[in-house]
């Protein structure tokens, strides 16, 4: 596990988050290195641990019989909350914002495509309550496949830009 994880992706936090004291930031050129470290325990658990417990409908907070319009509306509603551009405003939860948005988008991408949704529904209903995601196509659950990297990808320190 990588133990250094700074509070945020550099750019927006500096300008938006009131909690980031400018004194804790040492500027080097145009990029920021935020010194605030959070322990690994605070890092969100990766999608692979949580994904199998909730269906894509639950991710979007909708009924299994939701219409296409409802799916789109739910996606947009959630995007306004979990999209990293929004989620960075004021709160420290950015470490998970990208992951959360990706999860929401993945659910939307599957459910808004009639074919993928039909495939997903078939598996969902036949396997419940123990949903096996491994039987789904990888496009539906990149989380599981990407989980091998999960400990590495969301590293939150920023080095200087490479020019």
């Amino acid at each position: 596990m990588i133990s250094i994880s700074t509070s945020t992706s550099f750019s927006r936090a500096h300008f938006v988050s009131p909690k980031v004291s400018p004194n804790s930031i040492k500027s080097r050129s145009s990029l920021r290195i935020s010194a605030a470290c959070t322990s690994t325990a605070e890092r969100p658990t990766t999608g692979s641990h949580t994904a199998p417990t909730s269906s894509l409908y639950e991710v979007l907070g909708i009924q299994a019989g939701a219409t296409c319009q409802e799916i789109k509306a739910a996606y947009r509603r959630l995007a306004r909350v979990v999209h990293p551009d929004v989620a960075t405003n004021g709160q420290r939860g950015q470490t998970s914002a990208g992951d959360q948005f990706m999860k929401v988008h993945e659910a939307y991408a599957t459910l808004s495509d009639p074919e993928k949704r039909a495939d997903y529904d078939r598996v969902l209903y036949s396997r419940r309550p123990t949903v096996s995601f491994s039987s789904l196509g990888r496009s539906m659950c990149t989380d599981t496949i990407a989980s091998r990297f999960a400990g590495y990808t969301r590293r939150k320190w920023e080095t200087d830009q490479c020019w």
Binding site: F10, F15, V16, D85, G98, Y152, T153, Q161
Partner: protein, 572 residues
């Protein structure tokens, strides 16, 4: 030589600290640096306002003149005559040159410009120079852009009465990540911090999203989803986007773009009027530059006139006993530029296809940028969408900069009591990102038009028994062969445990985070194990500097196919 007129951001900023903690966050300004014209806008507390220079212009020419060692740009400088810009002392069209190597056809087509663009055709940056007192003074597109941005910054600071640091810039869709780093570099040279870089049509989409939301707020109609097709064509680039908009959320469905624009139309017309113009002007003598300048101005003028009239009389004396006296009609103009228009058409069709949107579902067609005044462009976008009219709610020349200013306000954390800034753009990747596999094939890992942030992974394997090393070469683009794509970087995985070919699983993961930073991770897993056999490599891209042309060739020469890898055939 005098010191360059730009200031490079210092390592230890002494001024930034107390300001950023103020209760009022600094509102980032929006800048649209076009190939030919440029504009600046800012959220003034209730709406987007375009800034004007001292000559009361909102649209400023994008060029920098080098004269007596002191460069000055189109923001402050008053040209005595259009021809002064074409005397060899002014550098323009830098947006077409930035981040390109001298093997790039776009660089080659810039060789007919009045300043010096020299190519050695070996994959390094082109040599660019301005004629100052009969001396070719070398510069770079980054430097020219930085000088220009410094002027824009100074102009905005005077008008807004505050220091400007944060900017949202618009960029063409077809810009590679390497070109993006060049833009960032130019901004840093000018002391500007890039808060966001928005593909131009997505800035237009954001303005559209805001307009739709306001319309909904005013007559309390249903906030149903509206799909817009946006064509943004300026002097340098043609970009297309399909965006789904509802409730202030602009969801980009697909992007398409190409380096084709008014400059190509102009050059085609110049060639049409004077067929051997390129040979004539290739040696860049003083007289030739002058003739070329005259031809350029006359041609440009004729093209503008052809937007409102069906034929135009061109009458120009180029000196050296070269005279052009010709009537050109609109049909002829359209025939000369047929390829340009066909390219636009194919971009629109591709974008609609990628967005999986039927033309009947498109609510509004938005055509912006200087070329949107050309009747043929307007007609072709309307005919593809089977419509009779275009969206009228925005100024074609100001839409992109207004969108950038909106994003600047949103990204600065500004909120508006009337909800005018209740906006969000969900961006997609404009180009596919992937790696090189056997036989110089390109395998995308993140396909184009993938919603960002994103993380995708693909499994590869070795091509030889006991292969202990593989080369991960990362490219961006749409070509099936890597040669057609932009090289972003490369690294080697070493210490793969010896095993028969095809056995080690090499996972390559690409991650684009919320700040649009690309990281490439690669790990090796042997069958039966859940854990990486060697430490995972993580590389932030792009890592290449100049000369990516010969970089790829050098890799090929040194390693050949010895360190190749192939995609794992998925068992279904």
């Amino acid at each position: 030589m005098a010191e360059p007129a730009y200031t490079v951001a210092s390592d230890s900023e002494t001024t930034g600290e107390d300001k950023s903690s103020s209760a009022f966050p600094e509102i980032a300004i929006g800048i649209d640096v076009g190939t030919s014209k440029c504009s600046v806008a800012v959220w003034n507390g209730s709406e987007v306002e375009l800034l004007k220079n001292t000559r009361n212009q909102k649209m400023m020419r994008s060029y920098v003149t080098f004269k007596d060692d002191i460069p000055s740009g189109g923001v402050s400088n008053q040209l005595s005559h259009e021809h002064e810009m074409l005397s060899g002392a002014a550098i323009f069209n830098m947006k077409r040159l930035i981040g390109r190597v001298d093997t790039d056809p776009v660089v080659h087509s810039s060789k007919s410009l009045p300043f010096l663009v020299q190519t050695l055709d070996i994959g390094v940056r082109p040599f660019i120079a301005a004629l100052v007192n009969n001396v070719w003074r070398s510069t770079t597109p980054e430097e020219v852009l930085a000088i220009f941005l410094v002027e824009l910054k100074a102009m905005a600071e005077v008008q807004l009465k505050r220091p400007i640091r944060n900017v949202v810039l618009t960029i063409p869709v077809s810009f590679s990540r390497f070109q993006v780093t060049r833009i960032e570099r130019a901004c840093a040279m000018a002391g500007l911090h890039v808060l966001r870089l928005m593909p131009e049509p997505t800035a237009v989409a954001l303005l559209y999203a805001q307009q739709q939301q306001q319309a909904v707020n005013e007559n309390i109609g249903g906030a149903s989803e509206k799909i817009a097709l946006i064509l943004n064509m300026g002097a340098g680039y043609c970009d297309v986007a399909v965006a789904a908009t509802a409730g202030g959320v602009s969801q980009i469905k697909a992007l398409a773009g190409s380096t084709v624009g008014g400059e190509d139309i102009l050059q085609n017309m110049m060639r049409h009027l004077l067929p051997d113009s390129e040979i004539l002007f290739s040696n860049h003598g003083i007289n030739e530059i002058k003739s070329m300048g005259l031809l350029r101005v006359a041609t440009q003028d004729a093209i503008y006139k052809l937007s409102s009239q069906t034929s135009v009389q061109i009458d120009v004396d180029l000196g050296n006993e070269l005279k052009i006296c010709k009537v050109v009609d609109r049909e002829e103009f359209e025939e000369v530029n047929r390829k340009v228009f066909e390219k636009c058409e194919s971009l629109i069709i591709q974008c609609l296809h990628d967005a999986k949107v039927e033309t009947k579902d498109v609510a509004d067609i938005i055509a912006v940028g200087g070329c949107s005044y050309i009747p043929k462009i307007r007609n072709l976008v309307m005919s593809i969408c089977k419509r009779q009219e275009l969206y009228k709610g925005m100024n074609p020349l100001e839409a992109a900069v207004c969108g950038a200013a909106l994003e600047g306000a949103v990204a600065s954390g500004i909120s508006d009591p009337f909800g005018s800034l209740d906006l969000l753009t969900i961006q997609v990747t404009p180009l596919a990102i992937g790696i090189r596999v056997e036989e110089n094939n390109f395998v995308p890992i993140i396909p184009r038009n993938t919603t960002m942030p994103t993380r995708k992974e693909l499994a590869f394997t070795t091509v030889r028994d006991n292969q202990t090393e593989v080369l991960i070469v990362v490219y961006e683009g749409e070509g099936e062969k890597v040669g057609k794509n932009h090289l972003l970087g490369y690294f080697k995985i070493m210490g793969i445990p010896p095993a028969p070919k095809g056995l080690p699983e090499i996972n390559v993961c690409m991650d684009i985070d919320a700040s649009n930073v690309l990281r490439v991770l690669a790990g090796v897993v042997l069958p039966g194990s859940r854990h990486p056999a060697i430490p995972v490599m993580e590389v932030r891209m792009p890592t290449v500097d100049d000369g990516h042309g010969w970089c790829a060739e050098a890799l090929d020469r040194t390693y050949g196919s010895a360190l190749d890898l192939v995609t794992v055939q998925k068992k279904i």
